[in-house]
């Protein structure tokens, strides 16, 4: 009997991945999205290893326009802009990943618990969520930046994550409230299955696509928030941070006045744009994978 069950679950898994492959193949742009995200993950993990801790500078070639040698030109210290973007990606991506993880774990846990338990706990948790949602994120971050230095990407991610779970919690609660009344949950309850089983094996898988998409979107939100803070100059100076690069490109190198500094401005902007594009394309694929009604075959 167990052999039959295992073989059935293996078949389901195989069919799922076959489905994923079919969805990805149908629109090549989705493959591009996956490649972009994998590329950024590779850049964040291994990119800085290809460069020395102190990037080589050249006082005779400061703020140079793009060339074969320097694809995005050089910064006001004569360092390669592309190398700065790559070495700076680790902070940005790591803190974005931490933000996404915290947003999703906290939001899902609170939403699930609140929606499944209902009653007093639901009221308390949702009022806390409402309060959290009324706090404006950017002004709070500006105030926090005056007392906290955010030198570590995990600290940055932690703060952004703690500020971002409200929306996910509300949405997950709404989904839970709807799903808990469905027949299969009723059946699970009737079979006497444990709450842990119902939440972990019945409810969560139904919401997994929604949660995964939220996680990816939280990554972009975190990138915008931290790059914005660094751009405003309220966070500690780190020359290879994308936000600091944007700030220096405009306010030190004069990228809005002189085209020689345009590469310095465009490189971090393109990195952010590309990352967002990758995420949007993958979210599009995920939508179809997890929502059979959207399948075109």
């Amino acid at each position: 009997m167990s052999i039959v069950l295992e073989s059935t679950s293996a078949t389901i898994r195989r069919n799922f991945w076959n489905g994923v492959w079919r969805v990805m193949k149908r629109k090549p742009s989705r493959m591009v999205g996956v490649v972009i995200i994998l590329g950024f993950a590779f850049m964040g993990v291994f990119g800085p290893m290809f460069f020395p801790a102190q990037l080589p500078d050249n006082p005779d070639a400061i703020t140079q326009p793009p060339s074969w040698e320097h694809w995005f030109g050089t910064d006001p210290q004569g360092r390669d802009v592309l190398a700065l973007v790559i070495t700076g990606s680790r902070y940005v991506l790591l803190s974005a990943a931490v933000t996404a993880l915290i947003t999703v774990v906290l939001g899902t846990a609170i939403g699930l618990y609140s929606g499944f338990k209902r009653g007093r706990w639901d009221t308390v948790l949702m009022r806390i969520t409402d309060m959290k949602l009324t706090i404006p994120g950017l002004p709070l971050l500006l105030v926090l930046a005056t007392v906290w230095k955010f030198g570590n990407p995990i600290q940055m991610g932690l703060v952004l994550g703690l500020l971002g779970w409200g929306g996910v919690a509300r949405a997950v609660r709404a989904q839970t409230l709807s799903l808990r009344e469905r027949g299969f949950i009723e059946a699970a309850r009737g079979l006497g299955l444990s709450t842990t089983h119902i939440i972990g094996k019945e409810l969560l898988p139904s919401m997994a696509p929604y949660i995964a998409m939220n996680m990816l979107i939280a990554v972009t939100g975190a990138v915008y928030a931290q790059v914005g803070l660094f751009f405003l100059g309220v966070l500690p100076y780190e020359s290879d941070n994308w936000g600091v690069m944007l700030n220096l490109a405009v306010f030190q190198a004069g990228a809005m006045i002189t085209p020689t500094a345009l590469g310095y401005l465009l490189a971090p902007l393109l990195a952010i744009l590309l990352l967002t594009l990758g995420i949007v394309l993958v979210v599009d694929a995920m939508d179809e994978i997890f929502n059979p009604r959207l399948r075109e075959e």
Partner: protein, 608 residues
């Protein structure tokens, strides 16, 4: 049809653009012959339309040189702090011993409402200056160069005598650099008994203390004072102000109105340097004061039609200052090693290519002023030219060791040079980034750390929180002002009532922590006491003291002088000409807008 709609829309857009054109034509279609002069107030980003026309208000819509007048316009002389151009005073006589100055007001001076400028106006302006704690008009006990008595001799003559208790050779400068305001407008800002309060405050005891508190409170009242209408003494008067610009019109009652070329002046709003660069590259400004700009931007500014950059002397230098309470900066050999290691030419090339000249050495004085004050001493100073071998020798003498290409402290702990700068000071940050790179290449770990803003930076620096920070020095022209940046309160020597008191490192704002006595040429000197002496001696006596101090700074290196600033003034010859090129008038007193003074002196002419 769609095409027609597009054409109509484009025509409409073109008309709207033409209507909203910001060409330099007189606003309001006035019959002004001299035309519109466009500039910015480089000292005050962000026009606040609701701010009063009050020169003491930090956001006030008062423009020194244009609307507000000073008694005289102190110039940028290399050695003489008391040299000035006539302002509201046509002439003055300084007693040979600096004990008094007698001012003769402009005979035809009138306010913009037609009332004559009198000695009583100057007297009230001096009372207002007391509430703000100006140099010559201070009630702080024992303040150097403070006035003792103000006497109205006649309607156009006023005499101010210096307190003999703690005289200063730059007393006249303090007097001349005072803003003159109309008493019929400003008398309500202070009580009629103000002079009695000032007299009491200059004494001793609890009553004096109470009077000083009263004057401090009055200071806040004066800052907040809003005249109902701008009554100007300068060549222009404020017509209207909005968040985008302030418009001034010619004051027909100004004593030299016949020689004032522009009929209107427009101050454009800006929030950052990049906005000023934009105005300059478009040729919109007739004049802008010094603004830091990278080489490429500077080239584009120079390429704008009619654009000219006038370079002059700026009595300021930037240095890398050490907190000698922190190891290893307590060791002079470490400081000397760093002086040999850092290539100042490279630092200046990267950080301030247009606004600075690499320091020839560390003397505590701007190289131009040093050539005027201590020409014989300059060749004797160690230039600290970049030399890695000498740097390593100094580090070894200090007991530092190099392991696996990295320098460590004498006790084997890693050495990291942590440099601090305020965020937004792009030239300082750029310099520190370059120094960091130079240090890392030489095997010294380094980092650049920013602080939110300049006031917080100064506060944390004074609290001894930083190992290394950037520090402005050589603030001329007065010899005391030059050296007090090195051997003043920040290094432990406080000048209270003309008496010098030294505080140990880490106490009472002493964050530099230099030794109290330094050996120069085999003799021990107390640099703080010598610096204080500069506050009371004439130029001839000052020179040997300045030589000693320059040598002390050069040997002991409380700071490493990195670059001496250049005063870049941006002008445009398309609409106006006659710009001065003389160093002395390219930079005037603190907060003064030099182009306003050039215009009122009749130097600037409308292009024919």
């Amino acid at each position: 049809m769609k095409r027609l709609a597009a054409v109509v829309a484009l025509l409409g857009l073109a008309t709207a653009t033409a209507c909203s054109s910001t060409d330099n034509k007189p606003a309001g279609g006035g019959s002004a012959s001299g035309g519109l002069f466009t500039t910015i107030d480089v000292n005050r980003p962000g026009i606040d339309a609701s701010a009063p026309a009050n020169p003491y208000n930090p956001k006030g819509n008062a423009f020194p040189g244009y609307t507000t007048m000073k008694i005289g316009w102190v110039v940028n002389h290399l050695t003489d702090p008391n040299k000035a151009l006539p302002g509201m005073a046509a002439s003055w006589e300084i007693e040979p011993d600096n004990s008094a100055i007698t001012l003769k007001l402009q005979p035809n001076a009138k306010w913009s409402d037609g009332k004559p400028v009198t000695a009583e106006d100057v007297k009230l302006s001096i009372a207002l200056a007391y509430t703000q704690g100006s140099t010559a008009f201070a009630v702080t006990p024992g303040a150097a160069g403070a006035a003792a008595e103000v006497t109205v001799v006649d309607d156009k003559t006023i005499k101010i005598t210096q307190d003999p208790a703690n005289p200063s050779p730059k007393f006249a400068r303090g007097v001349l650099d005072t803003t003159v305001l109309p008493s019929h407008v400003w008398s309500s800002a202070v009580p009629a008994t103000i002079w009695d309060t000032i007299k009491t405050a200059r004494g001793d005891g609890p009553e004096a203390e109470k009077a000083r508190e009263e004057i401090t409170a009055l200071g806040q009242k004066v800052i907040a004072f809003a005249p109902p209408k701008d009554v100007a003494g300068g060549p222009f008067v404020l017509e209207r102000v909005n968040p985008g610009e302030a418009l001034l019109v010619k004051n027909k009652h100004f004593f030299n109105a016949a020689n004032v070329a522009p009929s209107q002046v427009k101050f454009l709003n800006y929030t950052g340097n990049e906005q000023i660069w934009n105005y300059l590259t478009q040729g919109k400004l007739d004049h802008s004061g010094f603004v830091a700009a990278p080489t490429d931007v500077m080239n584009r500014i120079k390429a704008a039609p009619g654009s000219e950059v006038i370079k002059g002397y700026s009595p300021v230098a930037v240095s890398m200052a050490f907190n000698q309470s922190k190891k290893p900066y307590d060791n002079v050999h470490v400081r000397r090693g760093l002086a040999y290691l850092i290539d100042r030419e490279q630092v200046t090339k990267v950080a301030s290519p247009e606004g600075g000249t690499p320091a020839t050495t560390t003397s505590g004085i701007h190289q131009k002023a040093a050539a005027a004050w201590i020409p014989d001493t300059l060749p004797k100073l160690e230039p600290y030219k970049a030399d890695l071998a000498k740097a390593e020798e100094e580090f070894k003498t200090a007991g530092l060791t190099k392991k696996d290409g990295k320098w460590t402290l004498a006790d084997g702990t890693p050495w990291k040079v942590s440099m601090h700068a305020p965020a937004g000071f792009s030239d300082w940050l750029s310099a520190q980034e370059n120094i960091k790179s130079q240090l890392i290449k030489a095997g010294i770990d380094a980092e650049v750390v920013t602080t939110a803003d300049y006031p917080v930076y100064l506060e944390e620096l004074a609290a001894g929180k930083y190992d290394v920070g950037f520090w402005l020095i050589a603030l001329g022209p007065a010899p005391y002002d030059i050296f007090q940046r090195l051997y003043g309160a920040s290094n432990g020597w406080a000048n209270v009532g003309g008496k010098i008191k030294h505080s140990p490192a880490g106490k009472s704002g002493n964050w530099m922590g230099s030794p109290e006595e330094i050996e120069v040429d085999g003799a021990k000197i107390n640099p703080g006491e010598l610096t204080a002496k500069l506050n009371s001696v004439g130029p001839d006596e000052a020179k040997p003291i300045m030589s000693q101090l320059a040598m002390a700074a050069n040997q002991d290196l409380p700071v490493i002088q990195l670059w001496d600033y250049i005063n870049n003034q941006f002008v445009n010859n398309s609409r106006f000409t006659g710009w001065p090129h003389d160093d002395e008038v390219l930079r005037l007193g603190t907060g003064v807008l030099p182009s306003g003074v050039w215009i009122q002196q009749g130097l600037v002419k409308a292009k024919q």
